[in-house]
Subunit: 89 residues, 2 copies
């Protein structure tokens, strides 16, 4: 199997795991309600995503890099939104 | 940086992203309540995890394989538990 085919498999995997995460993101975004969301857990997840990104760069994996850039942006939005929302209340 | 060091970075990343997921798992498990859990999203996530696992095997990444085996087992428990719980009600 060529490297290109392998990366395509990785990107398909990334698409599935990212799609599964989007409804949670939209729910928080639309309802403007992040209650029940544990910020500390999202921060731990975000740190993990940053390390995964570094790992992806080190092993030169396009799939790992792409997946973690997209997830990282979504997680960052949730963390910032949750903190702004809490300060406003 | 040696391959061993790179894999350790990947395993640290895996530890963070898995730890962040555990409280959600424990909450469902302890409360015996999976309401608000979308089974379809967990199934999509589980498919993604299975493809990530295949990708990990193809690129021979111990970190990707380990992370997805652990996450896969946790997700499978949630899916099975949610379905059993719904059938009992």
């Amino acid at each position: 199997m060529s490297d290109l085919h392998i990366e395509i498999i990785g990107l398909i995997a990334a698409t599935f795991t990212t799609i599964a995460f989007v409804p949670q993101f939209l729910k928080i975004w639309k309802k403007r309600d992040a209650s029940g969301v544990s910020v500390s857990m999202y921060v731990i997840m975000f740190i993990g995503i940053c390390i995964w990104f570094c790992y992806g760069v080190l092993i030169e994996s396009i799939a790992v890099i792409t997946a973690n850039v997209v997830s990282g942006i979504l997680q960052m939005f949730i963390i910032v939104f949750t903190l702004i929302h809490r300060n406003n209340n």
